[in-house]
Symmetry: C2
Subunit: 287 residues, 2 copies
């Protein structure tokens, strides 16, 4: 993997210093201070899993080659590792916004294939991980800094990650596009969700891009301004929101029985036969 | 619809003049000339249809309220009209990159609900439409200009649209992410596809974002640099590419028998019973 990354990075050197206001995968050039020679060339890739409707985000700093995957899905680890490699990056962190109930995190499988990769999740999630975050903690990826904001309510360990320099916020299941995560299990609390979203997300600049963990209707991103004005749930009064969430009649999540025990161990559980086969296939491919 | 747009536009006035390098839905601020007072506030929304794996793109100018949908899907017309309305835009054009064989274009249904909307496709496609384009023609949406580039090979009427000011190219089925459209029907020709992509797409600046009509693996965008260096088909020699495409054994497209006759009329055909029901549902909702 490191050799592949090094080789692939050569391919990318020629476009590293271009003046690119917005390009590949929402890639933007970030200037640290006013000196262009200090530019951090950020890579931001948005990936989708059609089985669980999960978005996985790759955030990387092409100037150092460091990258993090946010909310990886175990069944997409082969694809995700290929993208990291293709773009000449090395995976530093597998980050989760919360302990998911609808899919098994890719953190554990990614760690098995990239020994230097560390799993990251909020301490309040109750999950095991190499790095257990508190509100205000900064996840550093090369020259990029992800600020951890506590956005509980869907679960009591939900956090959002803010990449201020690029105007991006990864909201997990706290804010979905024109929706929000359910609050009827995993210590969910509608009032807590309403308060944390209004305090931590809607206080961000209007133009910040909202990148959620899921979408079920084909939307790919939103903005703070849109969700503040157009979200049919979160624009209700606190009392109306609580009543609305109480009245939802939702199905039992189809993967919860497999996902919660696995994600409590942040992907470090004994793999299922399917995922064991995937692991062996990946190992063979790397041999 | 016009009243809704007007009302919704009020919601957006407060963020119209923000300095936003990159935000909602890949939204960027484009400066025409050096005068900030002449800024065109662009809206660019990426939407996905999970049944046909089709990306539909909304491109709009928030300073004039004009918008165009690129490659709309008939089953997603309700969603797409809602997004246009939510963002305070009015649909001027329903644009297609080519005569699709895998889904029915939303052009006809959109025209029935937005009388001022005009359907747009390349004359070489052989399809009927209000506007039939030739290479070099410019599609103007407010202050935005989409350049039409002929990229035949998947079909002989395929075009790509280049939004130079934002560094975006909508490639239809000519360039897919790490792939390309099939060339085994609809006057497909592998050599023609190889030549047109290398001439019209790979000649664009490396940092331009490639936005295809489909993706089947959860990728959402790419760049000219990535496809020039990483596309496993289009990085082959011309002869190798032709052989590779000849050797593909692909299934018969599942919707081709419904899609081709419908798309030849650019959505202006007699609607199927399903789509008739959708049309009536939409009509009722607007009443």
């Amino acid at each position: 993997m490191p050799n592949v990354c090094k080789k692939q990075r050569e391919k990318w050197r020629h476009i590293k210093d271009l003046d690119i206001p917005q390009c590949s995968h929402g890639q933007v050039e970030l200037l640290l201070g006013a000196n262009v020679s200090e530019a951090v060339i950020q890579q931001e890739v948005r990936l989708f899993d059609g089985d669980t409707y999960t978005y996985t985000y790759l955030v990387g700093d092409r100037s150092t080659g460091e990258a993090a995957l946010i909310d990886p899905v175990i069944d997409q680890v082969t694809r995700d590792l290929q993208v990291v490699s293709d773009l000449g990056l090395t995976l530093k962190y597998a980050v989760n916004t919360h302990m998911h109930a609808d899919h098994v995190t890719g953190s554990g499988l990614l760690k098995q294939h990239v020994p230097s990769c560390r799993s990251v999740i909020a301490a309040a999630s109750g999950a095991r991980a190499d790095v257990r975050l508190s509100a205000g903690d900064i996840v550093t990826v090369g020259g990029l800094q992800l600020e951890t904001r506590a956005t509980p309510g869907h679960t009591n360990g939900c956090v959002s990650y803010v990449l201020h320099a690029a105007g991006l916020v990864f909201t997990g299941d706290a804010v979905l596009i024109r929706g929000c995560g359910r609050t009827d299990f995993q210590e969910g609390d509608s009032g807590t969700l309403y308060d944390s979203v209004h305090r931590e997300i809607f206080s961000l600049p209007d133009h910040f891009t909202v990148l959620p963990a899921h979408d079920y209707r084909g939307f790919t991103s939103s903005s703070v301004a849109e969700e503040k004005t157009l979200n049919p749930r979160l624009t209700l009064s606190r009392e109306q929101f609580i009543k609305f969430m109480e009245d939802l009649k939702l199905d039992y999540p189809k993967y919860i029985d497999e996902a919660l025990p696995a994600n409590r161990a942040c992907g470090l559980q004994e793999l299922s036969s399917n995922h064991r086969a995937l692991f062996e296939k990946l190992s063979a491919a790397r041999a």
